[in-house]
Assembly symmetry: C2
Homo-oligomer: 343 residues x 2
Amino acid sequence: MPAKRVTLADVAKRAGLSSAAASMILNGRPDTRLSKEAHERVHAAAAELGYRPNLAARGLRTDKTQTIGFVSDLVATTRFASGLITGALGAAEKASHVLLVTETGGDARRETDAIAALVDRQVDGIVFATMRARDLFIPDLPETTRVVLLNATNTRYPLSVLPDEEAGGRAAVDLLVAAGHRDGIVLLGQNDDVERELFRSSTISRRAAGIRAAMRAHGLEFASEESIWLWEPRNGYDATRALFERDPGVRALVCMNDRLAFGAYQALGDLGLRVPDDVSIVSFDNDELASYLRPGLTTIGLPHEEMGARAIELLLADGATPEGETLVDMPIVERASVAPPRA
Amino acid sequence: MPAKRVTLADVAKRAGLSSAAASMILNGRPDTRLSKEAHERVHAAAAELGYRPNLAARGLRTDKTQTIGFVSDLVATTRFASGLITGALGAAEKASHVLLVTETGGDARRETDAIAALVDRQVDGIVFATMRARDLFIPDLPETTRVVLLNATNTRYPLSVLPDEEAGGRAAVDLLVAAGHRDGIVLLGQNDDVERELFRSSTISRRAAGIRAAMRAHGLEFASEESIWLWEPRNGYDATRALFERDPGVRALVCMNDRLAFGAYQALGDLGLRVPDDVSIVSFDNDELASYLRPGLTTIGLPHEEMGARAIELLLADGATPEGETLVDMPIVERASVAPPRA
DNA sequence: TATGAGTGCTGAATCCATTTAGCACCGCCG
DNA sequence: CGGCGGTGCTAAATGGATTCAGCACTCATA
């Protein structure tokens, strides 16, 4: 690239036309009456000079920047967030847009600052993503700013993209039932009696609702429900050990997430029990972990990337926007942790 | 926020001054001779109206956008990339900058497009990050664009940020030696005889070099070196089983990464061997996994976040820039996988 | 031969903040 | 009283693209 930026005026001059004409031609305006020759000359000149429009100047005039703000509470911690970003990045790229990414740590002040920074840069729209789907607080925004919520909901902004947790929950149970399980099924992580008042997050309650609906539909009941506050491997381990000491007849585990399942694997190993011969396991998230486990963990995946992509598509789709929630299917990834119950 | 954007002219009018004066005051220009009253009136007006400068307009004039491009080959796959981004995001936020993030998948064409998109938006600088530190290809850029490489090197752009793998490699071996290991130490993942010609990545070869240097310094030799092409748990599992079938006298494993170590844990478990009583393990990366393992894996961490932050700091530091490579210390995270060798 | 429609294009305003050159005024000195 | 230096501020240009209003022509029609 040359030292001096090539401007539209340079292109116009080389083509022997006004910059007005050059602008219209390069933007492919339909109703213009410029000659074929003019078109050719301008395009040739632009190509020869390596012209690239200055988007700051264009943005100043048109109030469109081809830039989308992506506000996330956490990108580092979970792979979930980076999946969302990757999906969003891909969709944005397809639409020749670019993503201004910010991270707020869930802190209201940082969130306000981040939004100000984005608005100052005239983003065309903002995607708010959160890791623990909740009703998100959103500061005031210019009315023209389009907003899509990703893994979150908000009363003021109706457009949101969520995983279809209800269906996912049902799928998990169906998997077990299809393998022949009816008794000794335990729900690991959630206990509605204990947690009725607890705010976990709206998507998690849908997951639980789906699980319960499927159990009812099959006329089954959980042998027990284990409430676990923190869904980390260590807690899954402890809960599983305690569970089997109390009730050795457990044949299947529905784990609320893969980390819990990972802990369960470890506990089962220490107890001399084998997956899936002695106990079957289904879980949620399709964490990286799930593929590392031996045998592979069957899990209902969180469709991060597709969700990210959908959010951008929704943001960019003008006109026919599907109001309300967009539910994205959770993929059922069957590995090797489910088998018929031992006789 | 009001429907119409507040412009500098609005502020100036309300303060009873010209926009030139308002601009100077709001930007805190030092040598200006405007009165104290003028300062107060302008600041008051700006506050009352909620004035926010239009950065597109400013950028057009000043060629500074307070925006940094972050080009990464992969953000989704490894947590490594998101750590880099998080670190970069934090440092950028401190400096009131914002990050335009793009992902290229390592594809040259997407890379070129991404850079064009960033240059079009007049970014102040670009950070190129790659997951597998390599000599990165970078298309032509305007001469004024500052560039920092993150986990990569390039002959044309000397500024780069890398983990101090050589020191990290030495630290891993030192840990084992300090616990009393001298014999039966195996290097899992790398075999210089086999891989001499193989291009893995420049940082990995430094890691290996550090490991070897420390062994030499202690007057030790590996009982064996296992070459593994893909550093995934499955491969670590297979290699470890084969290793112990061949040589049951192995007392310690230096794993080239945590996923390999994870596989080794699984294999050891299946073989009835315990970590760290029967065999000690040190590894690299401080993957999320490492904390999930039982007992916790002692590992030399990749300082993602600090690296990301340093890259931004380097980019923004004008003047006294440390030419060349900035090496970031790898944290030694001691958990429970190293113990004195069994007698 | 005006009149009108159509064709191909341009001039100038506009978006908003920054910045340079310089105006108007004051008090003071010789 | 003329001139000089300092003080406090403003007009206008600038950056680059978009866009509206309209100019200068040609050709056909009444």
